[in-house]
Amino acid sequence: MKLFHRKETGLAPGLGKLVKAGVVSAALLFGSYGHADSNVPSNVTFTVPFGVGGGTDVWARFLAPWLTEYLESAPTIMIDNVPGGGSINGANVFARRASSDGSHILATSASTQFPAMLNEDRVRYDYADWLPVLASPTGGVVYASSELGDDQDAVMAALLDTPVKFAAQTPTGLEMPVLIALDMLDMDVTAVFGMRSRGEGRLAFERGEAKIDFQTTSAYFSSVEPLVEAGDAVPLFSLGMLDEEGNLVRDPAFPDLPTFSEVYAEIHGAAPEGPAYDAFRQFFAAGFALQKLIMLPADTPQDVIDDYRSAASAFINDERFLEESEAQLGPYSLVSGDVAERHLSDVMTLDDDTREWLAEWLESRFGASI
């Protein structure tokens, strides 16, 4: 019953002109781009399935001018926020309405990916119908209260026999891979749900209600590091990061912190495997290593896809971009479309064993059914 009407060109916003003016001046400054026939239309609607000012919205607004600058047609990119249903509404609308001539692109995030992997009823989009233009990773760190011990080892030991609380959003939210990881480490962690953001979860930790918490990289640097310096929090492990081949390696933002897999191997004497680990890996990849994606409909003509992808690959190595993105997106290099496409295809479909394990785990741990 949701009807959504995409922006008609007759109502093109005044903002577009400003962006265009900016682009023209940028083009004058860096006038090194050819005037070859361009395949990308000159007006692009960038659907952001989140509200204005949210993480993904800020991310999209940061990237849009770079796309404009590096695409030959220097398109006017109009950001269209379609919030609701934790991004499912906007993605559904995009799946139904987007035209596949390159004039419509979509931003997605973990909360778009997870419901698709879990085959939620409300999801009417399919990642197989989309192709990534670029992906933006983030990492995350699990940390605990220093009341549990002074250093990493003491805290890890204490966590094995002390029941602690962890403030989370929903059983199938962004924290799901973290909850799986904590369970695989045999920690006695009770999740308390109903937080409206990771920030609220951190607040519960700072209030002393939760003794263990998890934050993504940028929030960790701005809000948790001061706690660590003050001696209130102890970082335990990072979730890791995917390399080009898809292996889990140390997070470049936290080179000194062991990854979950390392910690697991140390405790259990063997590398993690099995359906639990598969679930962790896939949801980690979809929620973190490829957290935010720019998508095109898969039936978009190949030359348009190539234009988008080469523009993205070009600016993600631009010096100025790297400088600005360090502040905005953390110390991660963006993943180009073709690499992201390779990873995504393994990640988005759960095999039967993994799904069965996950359904059983969610049911027995949280009474949640998928």
Binding site: L3, V52, V82, P171, A368
Partner: protein
């Protein structure tokens, strides 16, 4: 600290800063005045410009915007009875009643003056508090937050006056409706009846507009007069408004102080403050008889609080990166675009910027209130216009506002349904504020209770903070009762001026003072019973944690209905028949309009509807009708153009705007 304070003051008074702040203030006033837009729309206009701006100047601009929204939205609340935003819902009750008495200018000027003073007090509190706020904010655990939502809910008792049980049932219904969507404890979806629109629950804007604005429009259309049904010298309004604020300075101070402090508590903020302060104004008044019928204190209290709350909401936003309100959430996005990470660093490394924010907030409050005061007189004359001319324009505005909530057609249908409920409740004297309070606080009450028990177990409620708030609840519940009985004993023979509340306007069911049961009461009783059955049916399959809250709301509804039935029987209440046909015709007309919008598109339908209404119902001269209808169309198209909004587009709109 003081040198930083002064140097940031110098920054605020530089020309570029002032100019950009004026830009922010102007946009803030525009989006504040237009119902349904508010901070989020304003921010989305400014966000694209932020990228690459000097942070100090950009922050001035953003703060200009944030500070004046609770000022600007007063226009709609007072003049049109439309709650401009969640922060000004309580203002509607007495503000609109005053406008009906022809005292719009008085209400507006005291509202703006108290907004300004409230904002300044908020800025002062923020200046001192932000340095020490951290431990204070952290001392509010989920148990205290739950108790605060209870304090908010206890205002239902104050606001439903003599009809306690109807008020409780309305509040229970509010809690039930507020519980639609995702269960916080388990992530299950409940009561959504497999309708996509209900997965996120009903948006507050839609509920506020439906429960307050639509019934008022219908009522005024029935009356066939102007909004102001009594004449009152406009010029007098100004001076009187200022006098009112000067007389009630204690109330202004208390409400502003409370507003700025409650604003600092993350996750609660705007939604309770206006009701808490309104309730306080009622409780602290000696003569309560005029509340809801046009008591200026009912305007001053929430208005001095809401600007102060906007200041207070900066504390969790800046210190913890957790937005204290919807507007603050977008402001947070602005900070991130400027490359500023909120957190402890805002105090340690960016104290200058933090104080720039606070100074800008104070200055913008003064500017915004001054501009609004200048507008108050001329705009107040709107209340003299025959309402039948305004009605189609206001209806268009309300449809526009509601559609901005989630931009789905569900918004319009939900608006009509909540409007129907509002009409029934208004006619039968069920407290609409009680419903709204229940709706607004449902999520907080459930989430914080569950979290408090989960985190702290049985010790959750053995905390000093909890005891203090519990004492406040006790006082607010029992003090009025005590006063009531004492007064009853002393003036046993005099008729008691009973505080009777129904939102904005009088309840027709209670006229004459004797208890009467009306046909609409029966309709509401049956509706609530059916709803309870539906709730029970829908939650059968759910886990205990997910279903306990809607079941509790259901129990509240059933218990209060049973109590009301007993009361009616004991008092051997009479029977009264309230005509309802005209209201139902208007509601039907409204749904027909929604149907027209869905098939033709919003812009075309709005123009056709305004034209038809003005020609055939208002019987205006054709050229006036054409101009007004065209004006409505231009407004909608211009809004879409400047604010990148989308509308439902049907066959006709598609032809126009392709």
């Amino acid at each position: 600290m003081f040198d930083v304070l002064l140097s940031s003051l110098g920054q605020v008074f530089t020309l570029p800063h002032l100019l950009y702040m004026m830009l922010g203030v102007s946009i803030g006033l525009i989006v504040g005045i237009i119902p349904g837009l508010g901070g989020i729309a304003g921010m989305s206009i400014l966000l694209p410009f932020l990228y690459g701006m000097d942070p100090a100047i950009a922050l001035g601009m953003l703060m200009g915007l944030v500070a004046v929204i609770p000022t600007g939205d007063t226009f709609a609340s007072v003049l049109l009875g439309i709650p401009g935003s969640s922060a000004s819902q309580a203002t509607v009750l007495d503000g609109f009643s005053l406008a009906k008495k022809g005292q719009a200018a008085r209400a507006l000027s005291s509202a703006f003056l108290s907004s300004m003073i409230g904002g300044l007090i908020g800025a002062i509190v923020l200046t001192l508090f932000i340095v020490v706020a951290r431990p204070v904010v952290l001392s509010f655990s989920s148990s205290e937050l739950f108790m605060l939502t209870l304090l908010g809910l206890s205002m239902v008792a104050v606001l439903s006056g003599g009809d306690m049980f109807k008020g409780l049932a309305a509040c229970g219904l509010g809690l039930l409706v507020g519980g639609i969507g995702m269960a916080p404890a388990t992530g299950e979806f409940r009561l959504n009846l497999d309708i996509d629109y209900l997965y996120d629950g009903l948006p507050l804007v839609v509920v506020g507009l439906g429960i307050f604005a639509l019934p008022e429009i219908i009522d005024l259309l029935k009356g066939r007069g102007a909004i102001a049904n009594q004449t009152y010298a406009l010029g007098k309004g100004w001076r009187q408004g200022f006098g009112d604020v000067a007389r009630e300075r204690g109330l202004v101070m208390r409400c502003a102080g409370a507003g700025s402090l409650i604003g600092t508590i993350p996750g609660l903020a705007g939604s309770v403050v206006d009701w808490l302060t309104y309730g306080h104004a009622v409780q602290s008044a000696k003569d309560k008889s005029q509340f809801g019928k046009g008591d200026i204190r009912g305007v001053i209290a929430p208005e001095s609080a809401n600007n102060a709350t906007a200041c207070g909401a900066m504390v969790p936003t800046l210190l913890f990166g957790i937005p204290g309100s919807g507007t603050a959430a977008v402001f947070l996005g602005g900070l991130l675009l400027l490359g500023l990470q909120p957190g402890i660093g805002m105090i340690e490394t960016h104290l200058d910027l933090t104080y720039t924010i606070i100074w800008s907030l104070a200055l913008a409050n003064i500017l915004g209130a001054a501009l609004c005061l200048g507008l108050a007189g001329p705009v107040a004359s709107l209340t003299r216009v025959r309402f039948v001319i305004l009605a189609p324009l206001i209806t268009t505005l309300i449809l526009f506002a509601a559609y901005q909530a989630t931009r789905s057609t569900g918004d319009l249908i939900a608006l009509g349904l909540v409007g129907l409920l509002g009409v029934l409740m208004k006619r039968a004297g069920w407290s609409r504020p009680a419903f709204l309070i229940g709706f607004v606080l449902a999520a907080g009450a459930e989430t914080y209770f569950y979290q408090a028990v989960q985190f702290q177990g049985s010790s959750a409620f053995a905390r000093p903070g909890v005891a203090i708030i519990a004492a406040m609840i006790g006082i607010s519940l029992f003090l009025p009762l005590l006063q009531h009985f004492r007064r009853k004993r002393t003036q046993a023979n005099e008729p008691i001026s009973q505080f009777k509340h129904d939102g904005a306007g009088d309840s027709e069911a209670q006229e004459g003072g004797t208890l009467r049961l009306s046909n609409i009461d029966i309709i509401l009783f049956i509706g609530l019973l059916a709803l309870s059955l539906l709730t029970w049916h829908e939650t059968r399959q759910m886990s205990l944690l997910g279903s306990v809250f809607p079941l509790l709301a259901m129990a509240i509804i059933l218990a209060s209905m049973a109590a009301e039935a007993v009361r009616l029987t004991l008092a051997s209440a009479g029977w009264t028949w309230l005509p309802l046909r005209e209201e139902m015709l208007w509601i039907l007309g409204f749904f027909a309009l929604v149907g027209m919008i869905l098939s033709l598109g919003l812009v075309s339908s709005a123009i056709l509807f305004c034209l038809g209404f003005l020609l055939f119902i208002a019987r205006l001269k054709p050229w006036v009708a054409v101009i007004l209808a065209a004006g409505a169309g231009v407004f909608l198209v211009a809004m879409a153009h400047f604010m990148s909004l989308t509308y439902p587009s049907g066959i006709l709109d598609a032809l126009w705007f392709r």
